[in-house]
Symmetry: C7
Subunit: 101 residues, 7 copies
């Protein structure tokens, strides 16, 4: 992932994710049918994570995913950010559904 | 259950369930009446579980069902996922009603 | 209560109740007036209970009714389940109003 | 209060109250004006109480009224129950406004 | 304040207040303009207080006003009660704005 | 600030603030344009503060501003009070945005 | 940042941010297309921070950004303040998305 013009450091339990846009064509350049891209998973790459959130007693709860993870994103929620022409989303750690391997 | 093309690792207290689609025909191939399939339980097979959720003091509360369990699913809620042509749902542990034996 | 084709094991603080349907006729077979059945209590028999819910510190709080209890059910809430032609409901322990003796 | 055909044992912090219906006539049988009954307090007699509710740490908090108390009821809330031709209500302890002496 | 026909003992953190109705005439009997009464403070006299509310750990938190205090009442909320022709209100301790001296 | 006819003692974590009405004319009496007063900060002077609110364990959390502070008020919320022809507001400590020096 | 006519000291966990208005022209004075400014990040400079918020046990949780930080602001929320012709916003620490480097 090429370096960004500026570094975004999420606060508290937030996670910065670069959306993975499903490919529209096969490696050979053949256009994929609409149905194929529609069924692609809503996923993204973790670019940066916050320090974590506080418990009621002031302890820090670490975020459950780390930079480089591929994660499964929820249908709704998150804040959209455009930087250097790329699509990023900021979620709370608790909104992210799963890791993908 | 044949291996999936990708592994989905639920985060926190989430549970990945593969929906059990009620059979439409008898083993001998006779079509079952609509009423039979309508009354089938809304159930699924647990495919993967998260590490659990945090209590306020930062302790981890384990998820109450485990991989391989057959579980009774709520009417609403959960996030739908399609992978390798199969229907999966992701629920919070707290949404799942019961185990079925 | 005849054995069910499958065992339903409620999770967390849930309670499985078989609804008690008010009799429509007297023991001698005489049809009871509509008003009689309308005034019958909304009650059921506890068939299975979950292990209980967690306190914030991760302790388990046991469910307050046990298998075999006859209980007074709330007007709303609960999840309906049909199994072997019988009507069951799953409630949270906290939704059940009272025991009936 | 004549014994009921069945005993209702409220669960958790619930309170079973028999509604006190304001008298429509004077002891001598003279019909009271509508305005008199309209101004009567919304009160009831405590018939049974639950064991109490749990604090977050699993301690039991006793209910604040006891069997035999006359209590002032809120305008809304509670669950209505008819048994042996009498009107009962089930409230949470926290809904009941005051004791009346 | 003349004794009431019945004693009202608020439960938990509730406070029983007798509303102070702004005078419509001067001591000499001259009718006050509407604007004067409209600007009167919404106040009342504390007649009885409950024992207090429970903290999560089951400790009792005392109510912050006492019998005899003149208090400033919120615009909304509270439950209205008429007894012996007088207007009373029951509030939660937390709803009462201030003491007036 | 001239003494009020009556003392208002806020309860719990409430703060009594006298609104600072933006001047309409310059010291020399010249009328200020509407736009000038429109841009004035929504501020007030703290006249009295409550003892503070309780934590869950019954500890008292002191209010974060003190008598004499000039404070920045939120656009909404608070309860309006008129006394001796002056405009007062009662806020919860948590609603007040900032101190102004 | 030139000194303000008055100092604003945020209370509790609030953060005072001066909005960074995206430049409309290039350094040479050429007008930038609407699309360029539309894609600018919603950011601001931290001017002052509060002492922090209280945990349930009365501990102070410090604010997670400090004076001089450039921060990424949420689309909604915050309170707008105009002072000395400049645009400021007051947010809760928890509303601010990330730091920008």
């Amino acid at each position: 992932m090429s370096a960004l013009s500026r570094r975004i450091l999420p606060l508290l339990d937030r996670v910065l994710v670069e959306k993975i846009v499903p490919k529209k064509t096969t490696p050979a350049g053949v256009l994929l049918p609409e149905s194929a891209t529609a069924k692609a998973l809503n996923e993204g790459k973790v670019v940066a994570v916050g320090p974590g959130s506080y418990t009621r007693e002031g302890q820090v709860l670490p975020v459950s995913c780390k930079v480089g993870d591929t994660v499964l994103l929820p249908e709704f929620g998150g804040t959209q950010i455009k930087l250097d022409g790329k699509d990023f989303m900021i979620y709370r750690d608790d909104e992210i559904l799963a890791k993908l391997e």
